[in-house]
């Protein structure tokens, strides 16, 4: 059982000239309980991502039957070119680039058909890009979305981020009657750090009847069937008792982040140190 103990709390009492410092945490938080590693990609082999674990979503979404822009008016075309997705120096690097003609390329990789799991702890250590219009994500989709169209098949967004809010990430679930702009979601804000200048750990611990969201050692959201019922006035149902697969991508533009502006520079990169799954 893994416990991550928040130890930055300090109680400092100074009495006369005697200094007593306690570094003992006066509060502990069980962030993650699942510790049996069942899948890990540490991205230690340079080149294309491990093809036994990762495949690609390519194009602008029309091949998937979506309107151009992946249903969100996103601007990028996804490729499997090394300039958009490559493992280098122990990191998966997904690079969003601006083309000479003004369009954008990027990459979206997934474990669909290669690694799918129901329940467990899904965790990745990531450094995020910067600038308005950048919209990277680490997320899960239900394995049965082909037969049971989204949002009925469920979506668990472990981490989403907008490049013009460098201190904020958010975790969400989408399902029937709580999808898109009506998803159930919560932000987590760093008060003394940023997500685009260093690596941070993003994870969920998903068990029957509960999804806990954490960043580094901080649990910031817990979603249960009761949460969904409350948030949707009873309209939404829990659809998270199936296997899901993992997606990592960097989108550019679209309804949620807005479009890149004059201060957005390209290329922009998402660096992933590892993806690990426990049960």
């Amino acid at each position: 059982m893994k416990k991550i103990i928040k130890n930055s709390i300090l109680a400092l009492t100074i009495i006369s000239s005697t200094v007593f410092v306690s570094c003992d945490a006066d509060e502990t938080q069980t962030v993650a309980t699942l510790n049996n590693l069942v899948m890990a990609d540490e991205f230690d082999v340079d080149g294309a991502p491990n093809s036994s674990l990762w495949t690609y979503d390519l194009g602008d979404g029309t091949q998937q039957g979506l309107p151009p822009g992946w249903g969100n008016n996103e601007l990028q075309v996804y490729t499997n070119n090394a300039e958009n997705v490559e493992v280098q120096n122990g990191l998966l690097v997904i690079t969003a680039r601006e083309g000479n003609s003004g369009g954008y390329t990027s990459a979206r990789i997934k474990t669909q058909g290669l690694f799918e799991q129901q329940y467990g702890r899904f965790e990745a250590r990531i450094r995020l890009p910067q600038g308005k219009g950048l919209w990277p994500a680490f997320w899960l989709l239900g394995s049965d979305c082909d037969q049971n169209p989204w949002p009925a098949c469920g979506e668990i967004d472990v981490m989403e981020y907008l490049g013009n809010k460098p201190t904020v990430v958010f975790g969400s679930v989408h399902g029937p009657n709580y999808s898109g702009g009506d998803s159930i979601s919560k932000e987590y804000e760093l008060t003394d750090d940023r997500f685009d200048t260093d690596f941070h750990v993003f994870g969920i611990e998903w068990s029957p009847g509960r999804i806990n969201y954490y960043v580094d050692d901080v649990l910031y959201q817990s979603i249960t069937p009761e949460t969904i019922a409350e948030e949707t006035n009873g309209e939404g149902t829990w659809v998270f008792d199936n296997s899901f697969y993992i997606i990592l991508n960097v989108a550019v533009g679209g309804n949620l982040p807005g479009f890149p502006d004059a201060n957005t520079t390209f290329p922009q990169r998402m660096f992933v140190d590892y993806v690990r799954v426990y049960n």
Binding site: L10, L12, Q29, K165, P166, D193, R194, S222, T227
Partner: protein, 486 residues
């Protein structure tokens, strides 16, 4: 929705003295304690550790109004009091702007543990003001400043520090400067009357301090305002690198740029056998070749560069050999020449540039991209006793550049008033020009037979020569020296 939120409890009870203790990094026995205090606060409800004077105004002799500064117990973002600054109107007899600094009352503070100057402010108008730190009216080593726009409600402002590690003993805690509000947007610095309609206003500042925010990302420093410049020059050329600053991305996602002093920067030359650059950004070209000057702050390479294409030592025009007594000189260091020489008494609207430059004490005129230009001087010269005119020309534009030289005679009235008594004629020197080399051209005065652009019929009189004109149909660039009649 049930939300389980993790609260970070920070309990800090300090009695007797304030201390900062980190559990993650213990202070070792041999840790070096900073020599100067690291007090972050500058103003909370009162000045913190500032000089008794508190506010030191810019020099009233230069228009600074020392009267509008004070504190206000009726306005505060937090606590009971704030700094209140009344910005004067343009006609205020005591000065038309307000500004100055706050300095540490001691030997300075160690600010190296912070990453920004922060404060809350609001204004009675949404005017823009300059704010910064690092100015102490003594050494002024590390000034940083930026322009902020006030809002009508309290708003927090963040002024990032380009390189806090430099600020281990800083006395310059705060700087501000504010002029009247250009309500009609018509201010023109060449016309003082355009300021008359500007408004005075008031702004307040509170909770002024240095902070370690951790949410600031230095995007890039910059030199030359981030521009990549290139110039063709010779040995001996000097330039001081300016346009220095840095752009940051704040935790809000907004970018902020600050102007930063030279000592924050490290400058380098890509080839020190071609050009050197000092720690103060002074560039000197010392040899032929190509060198690029760049700047950085810490490990962050700056945007902007200066590429120097050095042709090596400049070769001056040949020294004339005629005796002084035999010449009437218009422009030459070798002779006593006319007074009031003006290399561009008039010029066509497409002419790019006219300048005088010198190497080793020998000047010449540099014409760039001319359509036509006129050389003038005091009065006129009578060259009826001479037979030739001499000039040294170096073509700096492409071979094939066209150039006609014209002589303009003002006539007996010695006045530039057209061709009533005046006359003019031209001579085409194009075929004699060689790119990159001085060519000595000697033209018989009887050869100025071409009609001129100004309407002269050719073969001018020679008793009252008032202008020499150069005309190019294709934008010639060239250097000229040693113009004389003999």
């Amino acid at each position: 929705m049930k939300r389980l939120t993790y609260f970070k409890n920070t309990l800090l009870a300090g009695l007797v003295i304030a201390m900062t203790v980190s559990c993650e990094r213990d202070i070792s026995d041999d840790a070096v304690i900073a020599t100067f205090p690291n007090t972050p606060d500058i103003f909370t409800d009162a000045p913190v550790g500032l000089t008794d004077q508190f506010f030191q105004s810019f020099n009233p002799a230069f228009g600074a109004n020392p009267n509008g500064f004070g504190t206000d117990d009726n306005e505060a973002y937090e606590g009971t009091s704030s700094i209140r600054i009344d910005v004067p109107t343009p006609n205020d007899p005591d000065g038309n702007f307000i500004g100055g600094i706050f300095t540490d009352r001691g030997a300075g503070r160690d600010l190296s543990g912070y990453d920004a100057l922060t404060f809350w402010a609001k204004g009675s108008l949404t005017a823009s003001i300059e704010v910064g730190f690092g100015t102490d009216f003594e050494t002024d080593t590390y000034p940083v400043s930026t322009i902020i726009e006030l809002s009508s409600g309290w708003k927090k402002y963040v002024i990032p520090m380009p390189d806090p590690s430099k600020l281990v003993q800083e006395r310059g805690m705060f700087l501000f400067s504010a002029g009247s509000f250009d309500v009609l947007g018509n201010d023109n610095f060449n016309d003082a009357s355009t300021f008359a309609d500007n408004l005075g206003y008031t702004f307040w500042i509170d909770e002024l301090r240095f902070e370690k925010l951790g949410t600031i990302d230095l995007l890039f420093p910059y030199i030359l305002n981030g521009q990549d410049q290139e110039t063709d020059i010779f040995t001996g050329y000097t330039q001081t690198i300016g346009g220095l600053g840095a752009t940051f991305n704040l935790g809000t996602g907004n970018n902020v740029s600050v102007v930063a002093a030279r000592p924050y920067f490290d400058f380098s030359s890509s080839d020190t056998s071609v050009a050197t650059v000092t720690s103060t950004g002074d560039v000197t070209v010392i040899g032929p070749g190509v060198a690029t000057i760049t700047g950085s702050i810490g490990n962050a390479q700056g945007n902007g560069s200066l590429q120097l294409n050095s042709a090596g030592s400049f070769v001056n025009a040949p020294i004339p050999t005629q005796a002084q007594a035999d010449v009437i000189s218009i422009y030459s260091e070798s002779y006593t020449s006319v007074t009031g020489f003006n290399p561009g008494v008039f010029a066509g609207s497409n002419t790019e540039s006219i300048s005088v430059q010198g190497f080793d004490g020998n000047n010449h005129v540099n014409y760039e991209g001319i359509d036509f230009i006129g050389i003038g001087w005091d009065g006129t010269v009578n060259v009826t006793g001479e037979t030739m005119v001499h000039l040294d020309v170096q073509l700096t534009s492409a071979p094939g550049s066209a150039l006609v030289m014209e002589l303009i005679d003002f006539g007996p009235d010695d006045t530039d008033n057209g061709f009533g008594d005046g006359s003019a004629g031209g001579f085409n020197v194009s075929s004699q020009l060689i790119q990159g080399e001085w060519v000595s051209i000697d033209i018989p005065l009887s050869s100025f037979t071409l009609p001129t652009g100004g309407g002269g019929a050719g073969s001018p009189n020679l008793g009252n020569i008032g202008y020499i004109v150069f005309v190019s149909s294709n934008g010639a660039s060239f250097l000229v020296d040693n113009i004389y009649f003999y």
